[in-house]
Symmetry: C2
Subunit: 222 residues, 2 copies
DNA sequence: CGATCATTCAAGGGTTTCATTGAATGATGT
DNA sequence: ACATCATTCAATGAAACCCTTGAATGATCG
């Protein structure tokens, strides 16, 4: 490792960083961690892998400096150490979107008819929140909402939309958001609410990108 | 591959993109390609691997959409398909610099005393070129210079500096640049010229970053 | 056409990575 | 102290990756 010439030693280090994001499970873990701190068990459960497996991947990323572990009681909470990791993920996504036909295909078949949903940009949403002309809808699970959400956002999960439809003002435009650009939940919410006649659009990205952009967030007090 | 659920299919695609940069040789190839088009043999020679091996890595990256191949005569020239790849590399570098102590150590021991060299930012150099108060010095090999260089740059390689020292005006400040932030050549040039009493600094990045930033470049006519 | 050269292909063996399993660790609560 | 629970460790086998070697391809040139 350090017996090679310095130039290739550097490339070896850079490659180690890239390897840390070069596995589907690790990307899934990072997406979860971008929402906030999580215990190993919760993470393993969310991405549907065994606890031991999740633990191994997390340690791999800890060695690369991507995540940090904190013990509290009998749980160990992992979190991102640096928002630069989000930039790396964004760079990977951008290339994948542009260059892999396969991604386009998957996205289209999964997020049916993406274009018709006309996503709202972050800046546009900032304006509309200030002008108080939109209802911001957070469709993530309650615990993620509690760890942080957009200012004034209402938290209703997709499967509860029908039950709590009365909480939404049909006269106001709604902007729904979720975990990130590839999170399904907000697509589903938009589809469901449109079927009910609401004027609703998606935010282009999700909560982590909003926070990383330095825009204000709220948390639920415990 | 496509039998899995769409979410993990997406992550698999993203991981494939990351894997394309997750090997030291591939990173080295990309650094070379960032300078411009190159044939397989030249690339293999530059990074000191066998032709077959270089060919394999190049094909790996072609499958990922990073590079394109063009046949001309009996040579096949590879080139970057997209400047977004440079963003990805920059994101990897930034994380490595920030989080891997090892990188810092290697950089320090190799690029002795980096800080004392006070790099010049791109914007600062643009100003100084416009004011015509600097000599811009390109220390890369002649063929890379020919493919593209900063406006008005003089091309002198490090091993020829002594011979051509008369070509440089000792009264003007010199800004040296090279292939990229981790290219040794410009460090060596700065050290050599300082020893001769010149007022000389490095450009913070290199030619590829300059071009990717949309700044003007010149090429040598054939 | 036949020779030559750059590149790619195909097969091999060696190494690394990955998921699973069951045991070990370390903190909590009785 | 003992039982419990979350996490990590260690070992195993399977799969993926990587480099080398030698043959195949496809273009140029005599």
């Amino acid at each position: 490792m350090s017996s090679k010439d310095p130039k290739s030693a550097l490339f070896t280090q850079f490659a180690a960083v890239a390897k840390a994001v070069a596995h589907p499970h690790r990307l899934a873990l990072l997406e979860q961690l971008a929402q906030g701190e999580r215990s190993v068990e919760v993470l393993a459960d969310r991405i549907r892998v065994s606890t031991a497996n999740a633990s191994q991947h997390l340690q791999h990323m800890r060695r690369a400096g991507f995540v940090a572990a904190r013990r509290e009681g009998k749980f160990i909470y992992y979190s991102l150490t640096d928002d630069a990791v989000l930039n790396l993920l964004a760079a990977v996504r951008r290339i994948a979107e542009k260059q892999l036909a396969e991604v386009e295909r998957v996205v289209r078949s999964y997020f049916h008819d993406r274009d018709s949903l006309e996503p709202v940009s972050r800046m546009e949403l900032v304006e509309r929140i200030r002008a108080d002309v939109v209802t911001v809808l957070d469709v993530r699970p309650e615990d993620e909402y509690a760890l942080g959400h957009l200012p004034g956002a209402v938290n209703i999960q997709v499967h509860e939309l029908e039950k709590r439809i009365a909480d939404l003002d049909p006269a106001r435009e709604i902007v729904a958001y979720c975990r990130g650009p590839y999170c399904v939940l907000s697509y589903e919410a938009v589809a469901a609410l449109r079927a009910r006649g609401f004027n609703v659009r998606r935010l282009e990205d999700g909560y982590p990108e909003w926070r990383a952009a330095g825009l204000p967030v709220e948390t639920v007090r415990v």
